[in-house]
Symmetry: C2
Subunit: 338 residues, 2 copies
DNA sequence: TTGAAAGCGCTAACAT
DNA sequence: ATGTTAGCGCTTTCAA
C-alpha cells in the first residue's frame, strides 16, 4: 500500500496525494476529500523512511537521560514520550550512566537517527560552546540549566527549578521548625550539577540564619544510590555528630536515610526530622510519610517537549522556564521542642 | 556525506562501499580496509532512512508497556533499551494505560515505524489468534504469558514467572511462619492477567493447608494504584476482619498496605505480617523493609530482547522461558506466636 | 489546481 | 572481487 495505490484508486497523480497528506493548499476540496477518504478506507500509512529520505527531515526527537536509576526521571520520560508522540514525533530514548558524556551520546544519536532536537535529562550544568559543537540541533535541558557554563541564553532552552533556592527553602523550613543542627546528604558538593547548587542553597540558608556551616554535617555519597545513602547516614550517626534534622537531595536518598536512622534506634521525626526534594508518589506512603518539596515532573516534561517542538517547527524560540516546587508536608518533620 | 563520497574518495563503486558497510563477504581485504578508513576519517554515518527504505527493513523494535505507573517496568525498560541498542536496533517505546489495547497499539506502531518485532510489557493473558492478526511481526510477552488464550506455543515467545506458583509460594511461606488468617490485596481476581493467576495461587496454597478461603480477606482494588491499595486496606481493617498476614500483589501495593496498617495502629510485623511479589530496590529501605519475592527484572528484560532479536535475525525460534523468584527476607514478616 | 519527472541515499540483483 | 543499474516510497520543482 503506497501513495501510488491511493493515486490510482482516486484517478489522480501521486503528487496530489502527497499534497493532501502534507496539508498543502492548492488542492481542490473535492479531490482532497476523495483522497482522504481513500486513505481512510485503504488504511494507508505513509512510509516514514521514504518521507524522511526525500525531505531529509525525520520525526525523531532524542531524549538522553543520564543517571539511570532515578525514579523521578521515569515519570518525566513517560510524559515526554506521550507528548512527543501526540505532537506527531518519535521519541528516541537513550539512557546513559552518570559517568557517560551526554553530549557525545546525543551527537552520535543525532547523526544516526537524524534527530530534530534533543531533550537532556540530568546533565551537567557547565557546558561550553566548544563542547557543544558536535550537536547541531536545538536542545533543551530538562530539570536543570547551564548555570556554570558559557552558553548564551538563546543557544538552548531549559526547564528547571531554582535548585539553590529550593534547597534553601527546605532548610529554612527546618529552621522555622526550630532546627539549628541540620545535616545534608548529597552526592557531590562540586559536581557542577544539582548537588553543588543545592549544597550552596543549604549553606546559604544556614548563613542567613546565623548558623555556622559544620562540615561534619555534610555527607557526600558520590551518587544517588540508596545503599550509599544508607551507609553514609549510618556513619554520620556513628560519628557522634549532633543534628536534629536532615535535608536529603532526593526522596530515595531520604528514604534510605530514614531507614538508617531507624536502624540506629532514632525515631523520625521525634529524634530527627527529614526533608527531601522530589515528591515521588511512593514517598507519600512510607512510614513515616516523607515531607518533601515536590517538583512538577509532568509539567516540566510537557513544557520541555512543547518548547523543543516549537523551536523545531519554527513557532517558538529558546526560553528558560523556572518552576516552583510545592511543599508536601508529610510526617517526617516535626518542631524541635523548645 | 553519502556513500557516494566515500566511493569517490576511495575510487571504488558505491556497491563496494555498501558491501563493506553491511559486512558482506566478497570484498578484498585491501579495499575493505581502505573503505573503512575513509568512513572513519570522513565521519560517515549511513542514512538510516535510505537503508530502511530500500531494504524495507528498519531497525525498530517496539516496546509496548501497559500500566504506566509500574516502577517495576521502569527497570525492565531500561535494560530493554540498553540491550536493543547494543545489538544494533532502535527501541520504539509506547506506554499505554491499563485500559488501552496493547495489540491495537502495537499494530499501529508496527505499520508506522516498520517494526521488526514487539516486546509487550504487562499485557493480557488471553489473546486469541484472531485478535492478533493485525500484528504481523514476531512478539514476546515479557513478565507474562498467554495462559488463557489460544495461541500456539510457536506463535510467540514469553518470559515470565509462574505467577500462580509464586503466589502460592508466598502464602506457603506465611503459613510456614504460623499464619492461617491470610488476606490478599490484588487488582482484580478475574482480569485474565497477573491478578487472576496470583489469586488462584493464593487460594490453592490455602486449600493445600486445609485453610478455608474467606472472601472477606480478599481485597480487590481495581488496579495497582497506591491510593486505592491504601484505602482498601483501611476498609479491610475497619471491617473487623480477622487476619494476621497480608499478601500484596506488588511491592508498591504492599508499601501502601503497610502504611494503612500503621495508620490504624497496627504494627508490622508484630500485629500483621506483609509479603509481596516484585523485589524493587526501594522496598529494601522502607520501614520495615519488605519481605518479598524478587523477580529478576533485568534478566527477564535481557532474555526478552535477545530472544526477539534472535527470531528477527533467524537464528532463534519462539520459546517460553520461566524464571524463578527469590525470597528476599525483610522485616515485614514474623512468625505467629504459638 | 494538477501532473510529470527528477531525485533523496542506499541495497541488491545482475553483469563482468 | 567489483561495477552497473534499477528501484524502495515519497516530496518537490517545473510545466501545463
Amino acid at each position: 500500500m503506497t501513495i501510488k495505490d491511493i493515486a490510482a484508486h482516486c484517478g489522480v497523480s501521486t503528487s496530489t496525494v502527497s499534497r493532501v497528506i502534507n496539508d498543502h493548499p492548492d488542492v481542490s476540496p473535492v479531490v482532497r476529500e476523495m483522497v482522504n477518504k481513500a486513505i481512510e478506507e485503504l488504511h494507508f500509512i505513509p512510509n516514514n523512511s521514504a518521507r524522511t529520505l526525500v525531505s531529509s527531515r525525520s520525526t525523531a526527537i532524542g531524549v538522553v537521560s543520564r543517571g539511570v536509576n532515578n525514579p523521578f526521571f521515569s515519570s518525566v520520560i513517560r510524559v515526554l514520550g506521550r507528548e512527543i508522540n501526540d505532537l506527531g514525533y518519535t521519541m528516541v530514548l537513550q539512557q546513559i550512566s552518570t559517568q557517560a558524556d551526554e553530549i557525545r551520546a546525543a551527537a552520535a544519536l543525532e547523526r544516526e537517527k537524524k534527530l530534530l532536537g534533543v531533550i537532556f535529562l540530568g546533565g551537567r550544568f557547565n557546558y561550553t560552546k566548544e563542547e557543544l559543537e558536535p550537536l547541531t540541533v536545538p536542545f533543551v535541558c530538562c530539570t536543570y540549566t547551564n548555570t556554570f557554563g558559557d552558553l548564551a541564553e538563546d543557544e538552548y532552552s531549559s526547564v528547571s527549578i531554582r535548585d539553590e533556592d529550593e534547597a534553601a527553602k527546605a532548610v529554612r523550613y527546618l529552621i522555622h521548625m526550630g532546627h539549628r543542627r541540620i545535616a545534608m546528604i548529597l552526592d557531590d558538593p562540586a559536581d557542577f550539577s544539582i548537588g553543588q547548587l543545592r549544597f550552596q542553597g543549604y549553606k546559604k540558608a544556614l548563613a542567613e540564619a546565623g548558623i555556622g556551616y559544620d562540615p561534619a554535617l555534610a555527607v557526600f555519597t558520590g551518587d544517588y544510590a540508596m545503599d550509599a545513602a544508607y551507609d553514609y547516614t549510618l556513619r554520620l550517626i556513628d560519628s557522634g555528630a549532633d543534628f536534629t534534622a536532615i535535608l536529603a537531595i532526593s526522596d530515595t536518598v531520604a528514604i534510605a536515610a530514614i531507614k538508617a536512622l531507624t536502624d540506629r534506634g532514632l525515631r523520625v521525626p521525634e529524634d530527627c526530622s527529614v526533608i527531601a526534594i522530589d515528591g515521588m508518589e511512593l514517598s507519600a506512603y512510607t512510614v513515616p510519610t516523607l515531607t518533601t518539596l515536590r517538583q512538577p515532573a509532568e509539567e516540566m516534561a510537557r513544557q520541555s517537549a512543547d518548547m523543543l517542538i516549537g523551536i523545531i517547527e519554527g513557532t517558538g524560540s529558546h526560553r528558560h522556564v523556572l518552576m516552583e516546587t510545592t511543599l508536601r508536608e508529610g510526617e517526617s518533620v516535626t518542631a524541635v521542642p523548645a
